[in-house]
């Protein structure tokens, strides 16, 4: 069976930001509650001309640069998102056309709330491993929406991360994969509805923690490993508090989580959240480092991966923009009025 591992990765974060204080002051809420309770400081906002397709294309271009391959080599391209711009017309066709992967490319759009991105990654990993394709592109990206004044509005943000899997010049090996899934009604959006609904505190213990911990414990048990065997852990990050709490319960010290813990400054990028956390880790990882990644998608389920960083990563890390600098530099802050316009929450009179 062919080897299958990560041969290139790319992250894209929009430049626009809004601070928690700007949202809280609009709705008469206490910003400190969100900053301390959920550990959120600010979040990314897509530009007026950006959506899941444009973010995914930029992340994919960066991944191709790191992989050192042409778009025409991609045999399958999957985009996981809950904010595909069209209801009917694939995100994947536009993405594949933009990176030059058409016409000999299999594509599909994936949905599974916040874990659609790791679904895409798992599928291209599997196809490469099966020998069906030479290279595959799996992307998690979202321009997530939170209803005005809802708790989600403080976290729902935008970003994308792309991973190319192949069997030559692997930079990160995939040592194990595991999935843990049940039917849990913690978060949903009905057809034709603009904003999602959620179960409040029900989204915590029976949803996020049950599946995240279930997947992490399951994969570590199968691999015969404990938290001590890992250098980094990346968890889905709907807010700052949940991933740190999950890591603590699994025995991970804070410093093994912090590198991939972007949410206080980025917000929750939904399908992009754990893939972006992973890209921030890969930017600074050294050969031999072992990484646990666990996504979570409402509905609900988690995908877990155990990765080992290989020597070749040192040759590609600086071939495309890194994740943390995109988060920390060149920021453009919006007030709530402009944010509402950017997100289509207010419309100009026609």
């Amino acid at each position: 069976m062919p080897e299958s591992g990560i041969v290139g990765y790319g992250a894209y974060i929009p430049r626009y930001r809004i601070k928690v204080e700007s949202i809280a002051s609009t709705w008469g809420a206490d910003a400190e509650n969100y900053k301390k309770g959920l550990q959120l400081k600010e979040k990314s906002v897509p530009g007026l001309d950006q959506d899941t397709i444009t973010l995914s294309v930029e992340a994919a271009k960066y991944a191709l640069k790191r992989a050192g391959i042409d778009g025409s080599s991609i045999g399958a391209a999957y985009v996981g998102s809950e904010s595909h711009p069209y209801a009917v017309k694939p995100t994947g066709t536009i993405l594949s056309e933009a990176i030059g992967a058409t016409p000999e490319c299999h594509t599909a759009d994936f949905e599974f709330a916040c874990k659609a991105g790791t679904e895409a990654m798992y599928n291209v990993y599997s196809q490469v491993k099966a020998g069906l394709i030479e290279y595959g592109l799996g992307i998690g990206g979202d321009t997530s929406q939170g209803a005005p004044g809802d708790a989600l509005e403080y976290s729902a943000s935008a970003g994308a991360a792309a991973y190319i899997f192949g069997s030559k010049d692997i930079i990160v090996s995939v040592d194990a994969t595991y999935a843990y899934m049940t039917d849990t009604p913690d978060f949903w959006r009905r057809e034709y509805e603009h904003y999602p609904q959620h179960g409040g505190r029900f989204t915590g213990e029976p949803a996020y923690f049950k599946h995240t911990l279930g997947a992490a414990e399951g994969i570590m048990k199968r691999a015969g490993m404990t938290a001590d065997d890992f250098d980094y852990a990346v968890f889905h990050q709907p807010n700052g508090k949940f991933p740190m709490a999950a890591g603590k319960r699994l025995g991970f010290p804070r410093e093994k989580i912090e590198t991939g813990w972007l949410v206080p400054w980025l917000g929750n990028t939904y399908s992009g959240a754990s893939p972006l956390g992973l890209s921030a880790v890969l930017d600074i990882a050294k050969p031999g480092d072992r990484i646990l990644m666990v996504s979570f998608g409402s509905g609900a389920g988690s995908d877990a991966f155990i990765f080992t960083v290989l020597d070749h990563i040192l040759e590609v890390q600086d071939k495309a923009p890194m994740t943390r600098p995109q988060l920390d530099e060149n920021k453009i802050y919006l007030d709530y009025g402009n944010y509402a316009k950017f997100r289509g929450k207010i419309l100009r009179n026609k």
């Binding site: 430049r15 626009y16 530009g47 007026l48 001309d49 950006q50 959506d51 397709i53 444009t54 294309v57 930029e58 271009k61 711009p85 069209y86 536009i94 056309e97 933009a98 030059g100 060149n330 453009i332 316009k341 100009r348």
Partner: protein, 128 residues
């Protein structure tokens, strides 16, 4: 105003991938032509995604479909390795745009045809 699907589709190699043509004497034509000056032959040429602002203006009163973006800078960009594009210069205060400024090309949504029509994608540039 709605664009007809065939026209939008026909322009995707240029709008999505900056596909140009380079003649035997090294001149870059974007978009490619059916015939070239002096009867020269040309090969397909993928233009660079980096360049500099050659000149620009600031649009304060755009066509209705771009009104939410105003004011925005619109410039002629000279790409590294040859070729020029006319492009919006975004993610920057228009008053901060300068001739000679380094920029890079990003994939963006150019226009949206109301609530029912196509989403039209293509290139814009941002500060490098």
């Amino acid at each position: 105003m709605k664009i007809r699907s065939p026209r939008y589709h026909r322009e995707t190699p240029q709008r999505y991938r900056l596909e140009a043509a380079k003649t035997e004497s090294g001149k870059v034509f974007f978009p490619p032509r059916a015939y070239y000056p002096g009867g020269e032959k040309a090969e397909p040429f993928r233009m660079s995604d980096k360049g500099k602002v050659l000149t620009y203006t600031v649009i304060h009163t755009p066509a209705a479909e771009y009104s939410d973006l105003a004011p925005f800078a619109l410039g002629i960009i000279e790409l590294d390795g040859g070729g020029r594009i006319t492009s919006q210069i975004v993610d920057v205060d228009p008053s901060k745009v300068k001739i000679g400024m380094r920029v890079k090309v990003e994939f963006r949504r150019i226009r949206t045809e109301g609530d029912e029509g196509l989403l039209c994608y293509g290139y814009k540039v941002v500060p490098e």
